[in-house]
């Protein structure tokens, strides 16, 4: 009989604990639904701060990104300036073949323009165009 009473008491205790947890959970959920916040302090929480190491990495990343952007800009400028250095004879040759702009040369048009040249000359012109960045 004593064992039964103790057993029942334990079960009741467990049930009460469960109910208490449920009540706390419901209160928390209700607060979340209502949008009410008991306290907010406009100081950064301890442990949530960005560490010095992270700050340093952020700075390095920003510097690297800036460097990449600068190099890209330089590369673009360099490519444009190289194109301007294409030999005049080559430019004239291409112009005779109907190619006046180096911005977009079609393979077929280039081959047609170089038809009268020997194989070595065609290779030389194409090499110049590659160096100038006009063709890949």
């Amino acid at each position: 009989m004593e064992i039964d009473a103790s057993n029942i008491f334990d079960k009741l205790n467990a049930a009460v604990s469960l109910l208490e947890r449920m009540a706390a959970s419901l209160e928390q959920r209700e607060a979340l639904m209502s949008g009410d916040v008991q306290k907010i302090v406009a100081a950064v929480e301890q442990g949530a701060e960005v560490s010095q190491r992270e700050l340093e990495l952020e700075r390095k990343l920003a510097a690297a990104e800036q460097l990449i952007a600068e190099l890209r800009a330089q590369g673009s400028t360099a490519a444009q300036s190289v194109r301007k250095t294409l030999p005049a004879t080559t430019t004239q040759l291409l112009a005779k073949g109907g190619i006046t702009s180096l911005e977009s040369i079609e393979a077929g048009a280039l081959d047609a323009a170089l038809t009268g040249l020997s194989l070595e000359q065609r290779i030389a012109v194409k090499a110049q165009l590659i160096r100038a960045g006009a063709i890949a």
């Binding site: 949008g35 916040v37 406009a42 929480e45 949530a48």
Partner: protein, 208 residues
Amino acid sequence: MRLEALAVILPEVAGHPNRVSFEGVLTLVDEPSSRPPSGARGHRVILTRPAAVAALPSLLGMAVDYTPSWDGHDARRKCGIITQADVAGNRIEVSGYLFGKDFPEVEEQVRGSGPGTMGMSYELSDAHVEDMNAAVWSLTRATFTGAAILLREKAAYRDTSFRLAAKRCRTKGLAANATQGEKPAERPRRMYGRSNWQMETGKDARWR
């Protein structure tokens, strides 16, 4: 520019040994915090202008506190009091005085630190968040329960500030203490003919 201002007017006591005037920018309105404040469950927050204006009266008479490491709030270390608060532009500007004689270490820290080193942080209670699921919480209602003086880098809002007056006088010296190129905060003017210890609200024009 619209300016909401409130002040508790205390009797002036020339050369009061325990009053050191201060002014600062407590927080920004309608702008998200730079980092999540404590208690916001990792969300950055926006204190909306209507909420800030409505909460302004609760700010007056509240204490400023500090921690020895200047990194947060300690409500048991109240070292001063806020007597004026303005919403000017997107800034809540406050002024008041520190208990300089009781807390010499606070005065020493603030005077000894470089310009822009010290900032402020508010403490809010009973805040209402418009949408708890939003990435940035928008506060539509709140009550100010205090403020802290701390290192600006420890504040959730990076653009706060705190500075002391040059002299131990309630109303003088703040303009003189303004750093070069920095305009001192406008403040409500005393309404002569009215009793002290009163509180008035309204636009800037009402105080002129």
